[in-house]
């Protein structure tokens, strides 16, 4: 039994090493996706807040999604990672901030 568990752990370890880059990137996807697409939903497509909240909603919930209407900036936090997007202009729409 112990051996099986050890083998399983070893396999998970090998897989994690193999997938280290994808796994490291994964937690940032949710907040980046939400910040960017919510920003465009609000300030390019010009839909209302409840619609846009539902529009970007995923199975995994965000811990925070806020907009500053003044400078048209959106902050999203998920998995403890924060990403921001901002409206850049009438032709340029929204983009993620570095």
């Amino acid at each position: 039994m112990k051996r099986l568990l050890l083998l399983l752990l070893l396999l998970v370890g090998v897989w994690s090493w193999h997938e280290r880059q994808a796994l490291a990137d994964f937690p940032g996807i949710l907040s980046a996706y939400s910040a960017k697409e919510y920003c465009s939903c609000r300030f390019v497509m010009e839909f209302d807040v409840p619609y846009c909240q539902a529009y970007v909603g995923q199975y995994l919930p965000l811990s925070r999604l806020e907009e500053t209407t003044q400078n048209r900036q959106v902050t999203a936090v998920g998995f403890g990672i924060e990403r921001r997007a901002r409206w850049q202009g009438a032709h340029e729409g929204c983009g993620l901030l570095p």
Partner: protein
């Protein structure tokens, strides 16, 4: 003799002027057809705007449907909050509009299809054999995983748009390892489209690049609602982030329907639309999926295959995007269809919509 020739020339000129004046153009806005058989459109309405399950985001969820026949609106309907004024996200329709924009640059003789991409985008020196036409066929041979929400861990497109690639999407793509010989294998890749968007900067010059989509294409067509987002390096997100109203997108459809001519001006190189509409025969048919042409999607069957959309003519071509976005052009019927949607599952079928639209526009005639 000379007089006879002159007479022939004169009558030809008069005839073509007359023919041009018979065409309908959206100047300034799309004209409405005088008589619309509303009853005939019931089946279209029933399919596209079926009772909407927004709670579970299931089923066919059309936001906008616009049908143009011979330059006139024959059907138009929106589901709130989308309206005729909404600049709606087009997702991968952006790719085909980018190809149309490249057609203007081709008319300005800024590149040839056989040119190596590296000439216009130096990071592609890592892949010197990739030509512009390979990118346009989604056949760069660069390794790519195009999947969105179902495989986020390995999706190249998710990494490009939201994580490692988001600062410079073309550079992210150019750094991918090769997986096949360029031009030999169709592998749908948003990365290929963004390398094209980056190459356009060198083609037209960095000063013109910013305004180029508007100066070269949108303004001449009377498109006023377009928004085209960029990555942090300033490159157009040619793969995904073009927004415009349904009526404005139909203008792109009309330009394609009329072989790149807008009124009396040949905006796209004459052979460009032919290239867009020529099948990339190295692709492999997938049931129900349109076949790739030059950055547009075709209903022509691949050798040994069937028409992807059996109820639409083989000449039908389209620009297609994630979540059900579509711009269909049916030259046989002088028809343009724009559909915006928020389909989150696979229930919507292109063939079913086209079948019903084709039946309705003929007024019930078979």
């Amino acid at each position: 003799m000379n007089k006879a020739l002159l007479a022939v020339l004169l009558s030809l000129t008069l005839l073509s002027t007359w023919a041009l004046s018979q065409e309908t153009w959206p100047q300034p806005d799309w004209p409405q057809a005088a008589e619309i058989n509303r009853l005939a459109w019931c089946q279209v309405q029933a399919y596209a705007f079926a009772p909407r399950d927004d709670r579970n985001r299931e089923g066919v969820r059309t936001d906008a449907l616009l049908v143009i026949k011979q330059g006139q609106v024959v059907y138009e309907h929106y589901a709130a909050p989308t309206s005729a004024q909404t600049s709606h996200l087009t997702w991968s329709i952006s790719k085909s509009v980018l190809a149309t924009l490249l057609g203007v640059a081709r008319q300005e003789v800024r590149f040839a299809l056989e040119d190596p991409v590296a000439r216009f985008y130096p990071p592609m020196q890592a892949h010197p054999a990739v030509r512009l036409q390979d990118l346009l066929h989604w056949a760069s041979g660069l390794d790519w995983q195009e999947a969105y929400e179902y495989a986020p861990l390995h999706s190249s497109v998710v990494a490009m748009l939201y994580t490692r690639g988001r600062e410079d999407m073309a550079a992210y793509t150019a750094a991918r390892p090769p997986a096949a010989e360029p031009g030999q294998r169709f592998l749908y890749s948003s990365g290929d489209s963004n390398v094209l968007a980056a190459a356009l900067r060198t083609m037209v010059g960095p000063e013109r690049y910013r305004q180029y989509p508007w100066d070269a294409l949108f303004t001449p067509l009377g498109i006023t609602s377009a928004v085209w987002e960029r990555d942090a390096s300033g490159t157009l997100v040619g793969s995904s982030y073009l927004y415009m109203s349904a009526r404005d997108l139909a203008r792109i459809g009309l330009l394609m329907l009329r072989d790149g001519r807008w009124q009396s001006q040949q905006l796209l190189a004459k052979d460009w639309v032919v290239f867009n509409r020529t099948l990339f025969t190295k692709a492999v048919a997938e049931p129900g999926e349109a076949n790739p042409g030059g950055h547009w999607w075709l209903n022509q069957p691949l050798p040994g295959g069937e028409r992807p959309w059996p109820d639409a003519p083989a000449g039908t071509f389209a620009a297609l995007g994630h979540w059900g976005q579509a711009l269909y052009v049916v030259p046989d019927e002088q028809l343009i269809v724009v559909r915006y949607a928020d389909d989150r599952d696979g229930q919507f079928q292109h063939n079913e919509l086209l079948k019903r639209v084709l039946a309705a526009q003929s007024g019930g005639r078979p």
